[in-house]
Symmetry: C2
Subunit: 312 residues, 2 copies
């Protein structure tokens, strides 16, 4: 039984994952905001403690950047951890056990390859389109790490080279700068979008919040500004995916995260832009699918780092 | 001793390559123009025949597209070969010997990794910028083939998504559509460039031809239109390379082919665009260098397919 851990800016999750990838006994905690490094660590340590007995390895997904494979983490949205030796601290708590760590988007991609639509697929890109846009590459059936563990950063493929919006990475015109949820909601708000208007009454309160999920719901309900925002994101995704498959000759791209349920308003323009740019036979075979795994994907992938270490 | 073969639209080359990658006894022949499949085959068979005795394997680089690894070739610039079973025909001529074939740009990248600037580098992209723009990816020290042997097509990373020039692949705005030699010379001619003017007298006759090489020479000599063309190519290359290293976390990109000797007028704008878009620490470490190997790179890489088959 593996102890799987998934650490994000708003919550931390831990679970037992068995060798088939089944997630058991999940525990969650809010990530303390504005907390110092030791407060964050104590929250995590308390979260995992009840799950500790009997585990044979520890797999961790965490927001980047991080040193890899050594696992000093500096998650963009957890300011209290800068060069925090997360892997080493966990190894200290679980002496003698394998402890592996990777970028959270990599874990989602690994999960999708191991237990999602990617089963049996040799060459795929697993994407997460959410607050950020990230991903992981599996080529020849094995996870591609790159020289520093940073392969898979499809969010920083350039889709608007001239005059594109500034990106959190310091560049501009990156896919992430265009298609991340907050960029899309900002774009839509500036053009008169009011969350929840089109989707009508009977909504959960969160569907009236300014979120990518609410924007997607309004697009599905026919709101023209929300539709235009989804089209903008879809085209940017299609262009980036065309570039990625030309470079890596992929069979499959999966899209997880908050926007993965956006349906035709996102996936229609995505396919249109992809087919416009990916014309050679080898590129035309590419399939793009919403991810099969949901919220637990990060935990499943974290466990796979330990369970299937020869491939991931 | 390996029999290495390099097949292009204007010439065919064959040589002995020893296990250290030294090229011996090179023979060349013009590729018959407007020839049928069997005429092309006879030219190749006659070329290799004197080199046949004693070889222990056959490695081939050929223009794409092709089926891979089976090696039915349909080189864009050799119309007489469509689904021509080149690997099978060579296997028939050399029964019992290993015969391996790959895209010619892949062979150049493999050569650069095996015997050029890429020695000891884990993650690199070897590029060829010439009549076309191609490349090959080595990740984790191994050649990446992709699902159909087509990984490495960096020429079709999208660098001008909206309104970019049409590309031979059927798409538009690809790096190749902007930066291939013929596109650059056409762009420069339309703006008043006259080959050889700036570079002055004392030129070889070929430097007065409408070629990317002549354009590069005129840029080095200060011709403003030629400089603008090199800047256009350099920026497109820099944007595509930024996207590639974000996706693959590369240590090194090498640039071979006709434009690799273009110097500062090409590499200056390339570095500028790359540094503008590749801002994260892992991407900043990337080095971009003119290829170490010259015209023989394709032969060296073709031989490596057989000699170092576990990596390439």
């Amino acid at each position: 039984m593996i102890l799987a851990i998934d650490i994000g800016g708003t919550k931390m999750a831990a679970a037992h994952v068995d060798e088939d990838g089944a997630v058991l006994s999940t525990r969650r905690a809010a990530t303390p905001q504005d907390a110092d490094a030791e407060t964050l660590w104590k929250t995590l340590a308390d979260l995992v403690e009840p799950l500790a007995p009997g585990v044979t390895g520890v797999g961790v997904g965490c927001g980047g950047p991080m040193t890899w494979p050594s696992g000093e983490v500096s998650p963009l949205n957890i300011p209290g951890w800068r060069d925090f030796p997360l892997r080493a601290r966990l190894a200290g708590r679980f002496p003698g056990l394998p402890v592996r760590i990777h970028n959270d988007a990599i874990c989602v991609a690994v999960a999708e390859h191991w237990r999602g639509h990617g089963r049996g697929v040799a060459d795929m890109l697993g994407m997460v389109v959410s607050t950020g846009v990230g991903g992981g590459l599996v080529l020849g059936g094995r996870l591609i790490n790159g020289g520093t563990g940073n392969a898979g950063h499809i969010g920083h493929i350039v889709v608007e080279p001239d005059g594109g919006p500034p990106c959190g990475c310091g560049g501009h015109g990156c896919l992430e700068a265009v298609a991340r949820g907050p960029a899309l909601t900002e774009w839509a708000l500036a053009r008169g979008w009011t969350p929840g208007t089109a989707a009508g009454d009977g909504l959960y309160r969160e569907d009236r919040a300014v979120t990518g999920r609410a924007l997607a719901a309004d697009a599905l309900a026919g709101d023209p500004v929300a539709l235009a925002a989804m089209r903008r994101a879809g085209r940017a995704l299609g262009i980036a995916i065309a570039s990625a498959t030309h470079l890596c000759d992929l069979d499959l791209v999966t899209i997880g995260g908050g926007l993965s349920q956006a349906g035709e308003p996102l996936f229609g323009p995505l396919e249109e832009a992809l087919r416009e740019h990916a014309r050679m036979a080898f590129a035309r075979r590419l399939r793009v699918l919403p991810a099969a795994l949901g919220q637990e994907a990060g935990l499943v992938g974290a466990a796979a780092l330990v369970l299937v270490g020869d491939r991931y």
